[in-house]
């Protein structure tokens, strides 16, 4: 494999042990077809981080494998220096809006309260305090007036904001957001942006899968360029350049994709343990 490996945070003066997310040799495969290949990555704290790459580049898979929703073929993940399992409470997740059935018989507040379920614990019902907390989170995304609205009656952007509010309610330190800007209206986009800024101002780290290259420099501090492998990662001003984008979206990568597809068809997949 002739590709460069760079560890994003290596130039900065914090150790990997404290980094919000440290990924080592991550490989993920669906039905023997590799989707992510040998990812090595360390992300800085307190920044807004975009994960960009073409369709099928494994951006969502990357997040899901970090969160343990997709099995890893190999690799190790650490969150603030410890295993993800022991640091779950520090991690908030905003899935893609399409991942759930919005016809489900609950209202916006019920969904947001799900972010508090872990805090509430087994068997206990959602009480007044929790509802108030959930309402506060809805307020932060400008949705307080829609708290008692059935979720199917919300627009796509409003549904997205409900998902954000659910993650906020959990009060995490590190947030993973899967395409929060996909298919939302202008009001929601503004709401998400101001929310991201607010999260940054209180020292939270946000990892956001993003598809709009134009807005990357204005919205984000740090960028991860991904196309099945890690192309580059680092501060936007140094990493987000034409050469890297060509590498991410350009011709050379289609060759790699092609090669990996061919590879998947061959009889065996090498056991990749580290």
């Amino acid at each position: 494999m002739a590709h460069t490996r760079k560890t994003a945070g290596s130039k900065k003066n914090y150790t990997q042990a404290q980094a919000p997310l440290c990924v080592k040799d991550l490989t993920v495969a669906y039905h023997r077809k590799p989707v992510l290949w040998d990812i090595d990555l360390t992300l800085p704290e307190g920044q807004l981080i975009a994960v960009v790459g073409p369709n099928g580049a494994g951006k969502s898979t990357f997040i899901k494998s970090v969160l343990g929703l997709v099995p890893r073929a190999s690799g190790a993940i650490s969150i603030y220096g410890k295993s993800y399992e022991s640091q779950r409470h520090l991690v908030g997740y905003v899935p893609q809006r399409e991942s759930v059935d919005w016809d489900f018989p609950v209202n916006a507040l019920d969904v947001v309260a799900m972010g508090l379920y872990r805090q509430i614990g087994w068997f206990r019902p959602v009480n007044k305090n929790h509802r108030k907390k959930a309402l506060d989170s809805l307020e932060k995304v400008g949705m307080a007036n829609y708290a008692y609205r059935q979720i199917s009656q919300l627009s796509g952007g409003q549904q997205q904001r409900v998902f954000l509010a659910r993650a906020l309610a959990q009060d995490a330190r590190l947030y993973f957001m899967d395409e929060p800007f996909a298919g939302v209206d202008a009001a929601t986009e503004r709401a998400i942006i101001s929310l991201l800024k607010e999260l940054k101002s209180v020292g939270k780290t946000c990892v956001v899968v993003h598809h709009d290259l134009q807005t990357v420099p204005t919205y984000f501090d740090h960028v991860v360029l991904l196309n099945m492998r890690l192309v580059d990662a680092g501060p936007v001003e140094t990493v987000f350049n034409e050469e890297n984008l060509k590498k991410t979206y350009g011709g050379r990568l289609t060759l790699l994709t092609h090669a990996l597809n061919e590879y998947a068809k061959t009889p065996q997949f090498p056991s990749n343990t580290d």
Binding site: Y93, V100, D101, V106, D110, M114, R118, Y148, A186, A187
Partner: protein
């Protein structure tokens, strides 16, 4: 909060209606169909069955009612988890378990027809069936429906073959086994009813205890997993409850029909509410009522198998709910649509009248001719007439002789609001059109009629400079003389 209260209020009313319908239906309809001669004996039969005077009936009716309750409760989560078809598969997969248990028990003790071993056999095979489905989904690229179909038919086929063997072993005794396929409540013993009652209790308690956990797994299992909930185990518990209710229900309604008790009450409940908690209780109530009425009716009439009657009763509730449901019943949706249509017509007419009075400030009293209004939009004669009649009844317009109308005092106020909204929206579209379309997901021509208060407030903020004078002037020329493109009005003056 007010909305919630309204929902509960609405649902309560609906429940009362249902209960009343059922009571009236069950007490009168058989009597009517049976004719006058039999009325007396039928009435006494009815009293005997539904007042639980008969010991046997008491056991059966209680058993099926509780079964319906349990199935309705856990069925809610089954349906919301989109596993309705899986429950069909696993109920069919019980058959080989029943047959095998019978054969084993006949070999061991000579008597194969013991309920507990049969039920255990059924449960084991329904678990095996579920695991087979999961295995096929996991290790092959077959789609879910194919996996379900394969497992259902293979297990059922195996069951039929084993049933054949069992019949050959012991011709007399094995005949009763077929009651597990179609159900036979008459053979229900007190101990069976107890077993069902126990199961119903377990299901009800589990649904209350795990309400929060189950609903999260049904809505967004992935998110639950990232929160550290043991989603797989919760899922398993849910399926275990489904299997429990299925095997307990086998004897009463049979393995083909038990799935209906799990699915239909939940599906019916969905028409009445947008709240999961209400849906859960409603579904339980529908299930219990179906069991109660169904087994009662079948006790009244010989040769009418209870399982079938129970399922048919449940489906009656379903049809009733689909039509009359207060949350998303067809009638409700139709009424909403009708109301919106009327509102749009009313507002259009109000706006036309307002704009006419704007362009003709001096001619207040006689009003505009109805024929002139008609040409302003694509009104049909009858729609315009009805709208005028409606507004006249609301006293928002005055109707004069020679078919002239104008706005009344209260009408002016209402029309002012409509026009203001319309112009806000128009101005917004024109000045900010590049960001506008995403804000409301409805077609543009209907939008002004459904603008929410908050959105109007946002519009006002946005257009602050333009709205200083309270009412914007129309951004385009309002013409009642035919200059305005697609609007081809004819004004006589």
């Amino acid at each position: 909060m007010r909305n919630r209260a309204k929902f509960i209020h609405r649902n309560l009313l609906s429940i009362l209606i249902i209960v009343a319908t059922v009571l009236i239906g069950t007490s009168f309809s058989p009597a009517v169909s049976a004719g006058n001669l039999a009325t007396d004996s039928l009435r006494s039969d009815l009293v005997r069955v539904f007042m639980f005077q008969d010991y046997n009936t008491r056991v059966v009716v209680t058993g099926t009612t509780l079964l319906g309750l349990a199935a309705g409760l856990i069925g809610t989560f089954l349906v919301l988890r989109k596993r309705a078809l899986l429950s069909d598969t696993l109920s069919h997969a019980t058959l080989p378990g029943i047959a095998l248990a019978f054969i084993l028990m006949t070999l061991v003790s000579g008597d194969g027809k013991q309920l507990l071993p049969l039920i255990i056999g059924a449960a084991i095979f329904s678990v095996l069936g579920t695991l087979s489905v999961l295995a096929i989904q996991r290790f092959s690229r077959l789609k879910d429906d194919a996996a379900l179909g394969i497992v259902l038919s293979v297990y059922f086929g195996l069951g039929v073959a084993l049933m054949g063997m069992a019949t050959r072993m012991d011709a007399g005794n094995a005949a009763g086994l077929s009651s597990f396929i179609y159900g036979k409540t008459a053979s229900m013993l007190f101990s069976d009813a107890l077993l069902i009652a126990g199961t119903a209790l377990v299901a009800a308690i589990a649904c209350i205890l795990f309400f929060k956990e189950f609903s999260m797994v049904c809505f967004d299992a992935d998110y639950g997993m990232t929160q550290g909930w043991p989603v797989a185990r919760l899922d398993f518990l849910m399926m275990a409850l489904v299997i429990l209710v299925t095997v307990i229900g086998l004897q009463a309604v049979g393995l083909i029909l038990v799935v209906a008790l799990l699915i239909i009450p939940a599906a019916s409940a969905r028409f009445w509410t947008f709240r999961l908690r209400n849906m859960l209780w409603l579904s339980g109530a529908f299930g219990a009522l179906s069991g109660f009425v169904g087994s009662g009716v079948s006790a009244l009439m010989a040769n009418l198998p209870a399982g079938a009657v129970i399922v048919l009763t449940a489906s009656l509730f379903f049809i009733f709910s689909m039509v009359f449901g207060s949350a998303r019943g067809l009638l409700h949706i139709g009424m909403d649509r009708l109301r919106l249509g009327r509102k749009i017509m009313d507002e259009n007419l109000l706006r036309d009248l307002f704009e006419w009075s704007e362009t003709n400030p001096n001619e207040g009293t006689p009003g505009i001719e109805i024929s002139a209004l008609k040409h302003r939009r694509s009104w049909t004669q009858s729609a315009l007439k009805k709208t005028i009649r409606r507004l006249h009844r609301q006293k928002t317009i005055n109707v004069y002789s020679e078919n002239r109308v104008n706005l009344s005092k209260s009408g002016r106020l209402a029309a002012f609001e409509v026009v203001r909204r319309h112009r806000l929206w128009e101005t917004y579209l024109i000045t900010h059109a590049d960001v506008a379309p995403g804000i409301v997901d409805l077609s543009a021509d209907r939008i002004e009629h459904v603008l929410e208060p908050e959105l109007i407030r946002q519009l006002e903020e946005k257009l602050e400079a333009e709205t200083k004078e309270k009412l914007l002037s129309s951004p385009h020329t309002i013409s009642f003389t035919g200059a305005d493109g697609h609007r081809t009005p004819k004004m006589t003056r």
